[in-house]
């Protein structure tokens, strides 16, 4: 008879415990993220985390502020949300002086893009006008969304492909002395509303090919809308976006569009893409992160592509993909893929994806697990660009993520209205006139960035604030590069309607590094697609040169490896896109190696 009351008491206590569980989980998370909210103390940051970052753009002579476009007035009620991309950054040594330069895009009609030449003294000088790559946002031609560099004619100088919501532009680099506009000769389409492009040699013929991912359909002119039915027809299952292009480099300055023939046929809303040999087959696979839908993984068998996102596990749950970055996060010789999405407390928790290949993945059937939560890199707000790089030279790859969508009125949020419309029928969500006016409200604005340090045991810890990353701009693109040839990775961040930020890195003495500047001969001259597996102190790490990755970004061409303390380098093995394998012995830390592909 007494069992029931006792049992009831026990059940009630259990019930109260359940109600208290979320508070306990939040407390646990707060403990893990404590370091992220500590203000910068340089000495403490060096001692605890091995590095700190200082924002030095003004001192470096850069005072660039991105300007957003003003689209058709029919979109005025939701203009801040629609005209919310275009800030990009790509790193290139355009004049081959051995010092990385910076190209940034602007997006207001008539605004200028900037090409910052590295002056070797800690400063940069804008030379875009004199080089002929500034005035590229003329009304009627669309506005810049991003840029990728690749030496498409193998003359030794990096050429520029500019993708826009508008007319795509190809510029030939005239030996670092200027650029020639060669779009017409190249045979590119008249208009693409693109938000991503990647240079890569998909067929291994030694010539760089070009992938371009459309966002809005190519028949939409955002400045002269025929109607307002140009929005995605679903928040997570939309297939009414822009088409995809694969331009095969014919070698004579012309490109042939071969996407359908090569197996790429999608109208999802592409926001980011990256190419890498994900299976060790010698062929570059293509990973596309789509907004309003699932990611796509195009496996390259050397003859054509096969979309295998669902089989691989990355194309199953639809989210809002906005980034593709590759990194050997476990130092096991395999690339993980980081795809950013949206997380907003109380509204939408998609979580970012860190796709880590399964151990038993066979070359033909690569498959992934999402370990973002387990490894601590899942929640990043309204996430955009992210890049892997060893920021403290400890021998493991860290992750820098920027975020924030629309920062307007701090005290008024558009999220409620956003979810109201986003869950509706396609006939409603697909028409911009049905969307409530933003009226100056923010949408995931003023967000804190994330700098996740890899502790080497499969966990990342956020140290953003503690190492000096305190900005809350609406971040879009992140690029990493050793800007001043010091053996450390600096961080360059492009913000929508905000300043370009240069975070200069200071790394604690004692951690060593090594860098490789690769030049192809049989392979494309840019060596895009070449990888190095570096073996040291009985560990290894794999890195490759990307022709565009992250979100609207391109990292420095040089591959940077942190080595930690007392490194003994056993060897480095280069896999060139041509198929050649080159082994490097007798490598010494703290040096930049320039390696040319053996002929």
């Amino acid at each position: 008879m007494k069992r029931i009351p006792v049992a009831r008491i026990a059940v009630t206590i259990f019930f109260i415990g359940l109600l208290a569980t979320p508070a306990f989980m939040r407390w646990r998370l707060a403990q893990r993220t404590l370091a992220a909210h500590t203000s910068l103390d340089p000495q403490q940051a060096l001692a605890r985390h091995g590095f700190y970052l200082q924002e030095v753009s003004h001192a470096a002579g850069i005072d660039f502020v991105h300007q957003a476009p003003t689209l058709d007035s029919k979109l005025d009620p939701i203009m801040p949300e629609v005209a919310s991309m275009g800030a990009s950054v790509s790193i290139v040594d355009f004049d081959r002086d051995g010092w990385p330069d910076i190209y940034v895009t602007n997006s207001k009609e008539g605004s200028r893009n900037h090409l910052y030449r590295n002056m070797h003294d800690g400063t940069f000088k804008d030379v875009a006008e004199e080089m002929g790559v500034a005035d590229v946002n003329q009304p009627g031609t669309g506005v810049s969304m991003g840029a990728v560099w690749g030496d498409y004619d193998n003359d030794g100088y990096e050429d520029l492909f500019l993708y826009k919501w508008g007319k795509p532009e190809l510029f030939h680099n005239d030996h670092g002395k200027g650029f020639t506009h060669v779009t017409a000769q190249a045979g590119l389409p008249a208009w693409i509303n693109a938000n991503t492009a990647v240079w890569f040699d998909y067929d291994g013929d030694g010539l760089l090919d070009l992938f371009v991912g459309g966002y809005y359909p190519e028949d939409v002119d955002l400045w002269h809308l025929k109607n307002t039915r140009m929005m995605p027809d679903s928040f997570e299952y939309a297939k009414n976006g822009g088409r995809k292009y694969l331009f095969h480099n014919l070698g004579n300055g012309n490109f042939e569009e071969v996407s359908a023939r090569m197996g790429i046929n999608s109208r999802r809303w592409a926001l980011a893409a990256g190419a890498a040999d994900l299976r060790g087959t010698g062929h570059q696979d293509l990973f596309v992160a789509n907004d309003y839908g699932v990611s796509e993984l195009y496996l390259n068998d050397g003859k054509r592509f096969h979309e295998a996102g669902e089989q691989a596990g990355v194309g199953f749950a639809p989210k809002s993909g906005m980034n593709v970055a590759f990194g050997d996060v476990l130092n096991d010789g395999h690339y993980a893929v980081y795809v950013s999405n949206i997380s907003e407390n109380g509204a939408l928790i998609q979580g970012n994806n860190l796709w880590v290949p399964k151990e038993d993945s066979a070359a033909k059937t690569v498959s992934y697990d999402n370990l973002a939560r387990d490894m601590g890199v899942e929640l990043g707000g309204w996430s955009f660009g992210a890049q892997f790089g060893d920021l403290n030279n400890d021998g493991t790859l860290d992750l820098y993520l920027t975020n924030g969508y629309v920062s307007l009125d701090r005290n008024r949020s558009y999220w409620y209205d956003f979810t109201k419309i986003a869950g509706g029928n396609s006939a409603i969500i697909g028409d911009a006139k049905d969307w409530p006016a933003m009226e100056g409200r923010s949408l995931s604005g003023y967000q804190q960035k994330h700098v996740w340090l890899n502790d080497g045991t499969g966990h990342f810890v956020d140290v953003a604030q503690a190492v000096g990353v305190t900005d809350t701009y609406d971040g879009r693109a992140v690029a990493l590069a050793d800007l001043w040839n010091r053996g450390v990775l600096d961080v360059i961040v492009a913000n929508e309607r905000g300043p370009l930020l240069l975070y200069k890195n200071t790394v604690a003495p004692g951690n060593h590094w090594i860098e490789f500047d690769l030049r192809g001969t049989a392979s494309n001259r840019s060596a895009i697609g070449a990888s190095i597996e570096l073996n040291w102190n009985e560990q290894k790490q794999l890195q490759a040169i990307c022709g565009g990755c992250g979100f609207s970004a391109e990292n420095g061409r040089r591959l940077h490896f942190g080595l930690g303390k007392d490194p003994h380098i056993e060897k480095g093995v280069i896999h060139w896109p041509s198929g050649k394998v080159q082994t490097l012995d007798a490598l010494t830390p703290d040096k930049i190696y320039t390696i040319e592909e053996p002929k």
Binding site: L19, R26, P318, T419, I428, P436
Partner: protein, 291 residues
Amino acid sequence: MSQPTTRPQPTESANKPLFRGWTPTSSSMNPYIPPAFITLILLVGHLSFGILESYQRTILAIASSMACELVLGRLLLHKWPNLASSYITGISVGILLRAPGYWPYVVCALLSITSKYVLRVKGRHIFNPSNFGISAMLFLASDAVATLSIQWGNNLAAMAVIWVLGSLIIWRARRFHICVTYVASFFLFSIVRAWMTGDPWLSEFSPITGPEYQLFTFFMITDPKTTVRAKWAQCVVAFFVAFAEMFFRLDQSIYAPLYALFFVGPIALLIEMVWTARHPVSRPAAIPAQA
């Protein structure tokens, strides 16, 4: 909170069990149709659109819910309970809750089922289990969970199939009037809201075309165990759920329908209990406690 009671004899309006957790309303209705229907929604939604975060999370929610029901039923009622309603609770949690982690699915399922045994008045649980669990998680763990709101096809054909099938089933269960009243009320208040806010009417009407409302309309507001008995009163309650929802929406609450039911449902039941106590002869028998 009182001790769960055993199921009393059927009344004139409660003939044979439809399935455990639902008041029987029609002897011709197969008791397993509602669980089968929600399973169908799950499978069609997932195979067509991949609505689930993962199979594992949904299975975890279902397993947690059913296991909790078994344990608590055995512990408190000394019998093995029918698991149909806990299956529906688990599957509702699995579909409606969106969380990258696993723990919210377990905690939400356990909260939902446990609430039936803890939050009771005169032997009757007053909260819809899954509504309670999900609302509690949204309120207490907003940093870790959201609900299904956009993870669906936004597709008219898929929506129409579910509405037609759901309507047929609910019609057979003699609860269609609740759905109709709620949808009509939502329609009415969407016009009122659009007039008050100046937003396009379609943006105010838009939410009900989404997946969250399909589950809410067919499986939450019609749950016999947590709705009042009289047909006219059920319509009044459905109207007031939509009415309360309007105020939550005007306050820009994303989870307005869930919170509206969270408050209106128990209040309606309590009023009914008081009314029944004062007019014992004129009212039908109280709904039995859910095991």
